[in-house]
Amino acid sequence: MLFNSIDFAIFLPIVFALYWLLTRYPLRAQNSLLVIASYVFYGWWDWRFLSLILFSTVVDYCIGVYLNKLSDDRKRKYLLWTSIGVNIGLLMFFKYFNFFVDNFVTAFTFFGAAIKPTSLNIILPVGISFYTFQTLSYTIDVYKRKLEPTHDFIQFSAFVSFFPQLVAGPIERATSLLPQFTMKRKFDKIQAADGMRQILWGLFKKIIVADNCAKYVNVIFENYETMSGSSLMLGAVLFAFQIYGDFSGYSDIGIGTARLFGFNLMQNFAFPYFSRDIAEFWRRWHISLSTWFRDYVYIPLGGSKGSILFQIRNVFVIFLVSGFWHGANWTFIVWGAINALLFLPLLIGKRNRVHKDIVAKDSSLPSFFDFVKILMTFILTCIAWVFFRSDTISDAYHYLAKMINISAFDYPIELQTYVYVFLVFFVIMEWLGRRQQYAIEKTLINYPRFFRWSFYYAITMIIFLYGGETQNFIYFQF
């Protein structure tokens, strides 16, 4: 079920009403409802893949329980690797099987050996990369004894399948989300109103920003050979907006929805395009995935300790794995490698943690140098995005090469004026709200009620009247 669909608009109020009607019953009733609702939400897309979630849930629930009981380190390690094997195995099969087969064939052909490959027609289950990582975090944390395993299967099922973040994150840590299923939830109208606001802003990002950019991005990337350099530049910039609006919009809707049910999910995007270097960008972009990799891959590898070569290796590992996580295509791996290359000078110069706070924290505008840094970081990010968006590395290379010629000074393809208007409005709102969890969290809080309601009304009408053609969320494919 898509967040931006009529189905969800009907589904959400029904689940919300039932959920809060169950407050007088034991907590298990609310958790059970969440499990049922989450399975309906997921099954709406393809009910057959519910078995995968159920399988993952049962395996990790049992392993969690046994990990706690056992004291023999060898056996505990064996259980941990079983969980990792099952989860990563599912991911590898559904997401990467054909990629590996194709590449083996290519490699064998290169060395003169002809083999007949068996490629399978595998459908990628929506959100598999997200929920497998979430359950893995549970097993690893239980193994490390950072978390007591739950003995309540319903609670654990609700944690794994919680519909607001099931298919595209944020990838929640068991230490943060699981305890919330054990506590009695009370309706908090401030939290619920905040949730509604965040859903509204998420829908704006998705439907107005991302979907409107998508129609031009698709045309430009699919016909890049015939486009002027200026159009290609525009395409790269619009894709930067599209992917941010799409993914952070989904996160906002997910986080806002969770708030309606009394849950707090982690912030997944913290205004990444206002970053002053790539290191800051990666602290602000897809935070739940970056911190997952940091905690479960980067730090166990040694992190930033050890020799400089060791550190470089770790950085490359983390960015390449992150790229590969996004999809079974070399373009994602190159995208990860480019980000690693952009990150390395900062690491070597020990400047990767210079910008910890948001830009212009105590002023309304950035300094000139900060502005230039933001612009440079954005340009570098856009270049990397070209690899992310292109079908092949060759396409991305030619796209970038075609950008740099005299046609870069031509008029780019014509966009409808309202697209520019809404993009400028979006950037302004994001800038004004950059110190908050999301752009309109508190920006309007001190304004009179009439003004606030007018603003929300205008945003809602804009979403309906200027929404681009419905596109799937990009991150669903990951």
Partner: protein, 299 residues
């Protein structure tokens, strides 16, 4: 909680009222054509955009064609309209080269809003192929959106498209014919023709059963357009099915597709497969005269 729900409902009402206002702001002439009837008709025509070639001189006749229309919806439209026809009324069914390949489910070869979606606005749900409640809501929301954009947006945002007038009429028709014929061939080869034969047969049977007179018609096309279809192609995708129907039901059939009085005269066409105003009047005079000749039209 009560306060929160009250505010959400209030806000939703505000949005719904705005939608209703926008919805009522502008009616859709295409839908109005099917829903507004001043009297009972003696003659009507169904069909796709080619049906617009017929021009009725008085309000005894009316056009009920729809762009890209399928034979399935010709049948449904007739069922919807039959109560507005006088006894013995004539029902002209224009059938185009691509008609037997059309699919009642497919909407992607033309703007979906111009086609099936509008049927949600007046046909009963039982007449809609694969009716979906979700789509029904979407159709109404699209109407709100469309009304808003037509009323307000055009003034501020939309730039008029420049028309290339440098081409001669002949060149324009030739260019158009090339483009259209390719699209029409794709449409003709898309779906199962036998299914459309069944729909057309059901339509003819219904018309006869209700005491009305069916007339099959192939519209006039410019030579530019006709020349893009080989005889073999037309036999395979069009005439074999038309002949089958005519043989079965013995209904009058008038074929103007290559009528030299019209198809060789470029000045009668607005594009390669549609007549302009002058062409419509000229063709309609010929049509009604021929209908009188074969004694299916009395006056």
């Amino acid at each position: 909680m009560r306060n929160f729900i009250f505010k959400v409902i209030l806000f939703s009402i505000l949005i719904v009222v705005s939608f209703l206002y926008l919805y009522s702001k502008r009616s859709n002439p295409l839908v109005d054509n099917f829903t507004t009837h001043n009297n009972n008709y003696e003659i009507i025509n169904l069909g796709n955009s080619h049906g617009a070639n017929i021009k009725y001189r008085d309000n005894k006749g009316k056009r009920f064609q729809r762009a890209g229309n399928t034979l399935y919806y010709d049948l449904q439209n007739y069922k919807y309209l039959q109560e507005h026809l006088v006894d013995n009324a004539m029902v002209i069914i224009p059938v185009s080269y691509f008609s037997f390949g059309l699919d009642e489910n497919r909407t992607d070869y033309i703007d979906p809003n111009a086609f099936v979606n509008y049927y949600y606005m007046f046909l009963p749900s039982s007449s809609i192929y694969n009716y979906s409640f979700k789509k029904n809501i979407q159709v109404y929301l699209n109407k709100v959106k469309e009304n808003y954009h037509s009323v307000i947006d055009e003034r501020f945002f939309l730039v008029e498209k420049k028309v290339n007038d440098s081409l001669s009429l002949e060149e324009k028709l030739e260019h158009h014919a090339k483009m259209r014929s390719e699209t029409h061939k794709i449409m003709a080869e898309y779906s199962d023709p036998e299914k459309n034969v069944i729909y057309l047969s059901a339509l003819i049977e219904d018309i006869i059963k209700n005491g009305h007179q069916p007339v099959l018609l192939t519209m006039p096309y410019a030579d530019h357009y006709n020349s893009k279809f080989s005889e073999a192609w037309l036999d395979e995708h069009y005439y074999q099915y038309m002949n089958k129907i005519i043989d079965t039901y013995q209904v009058p059939y008038l074929n103007y597709s290559v009528d030299e009085r019209i198809s060789t005269n470029d000045s009668l066409f607005s594009n390669s497969d549609h007549l302009n105003d002058k062409g419509r009047i000229y063709f309609s005079d010929i049509l009604f005269e021929d209908l009188r000749k074969i004694q299916v039209l009395n006056q």
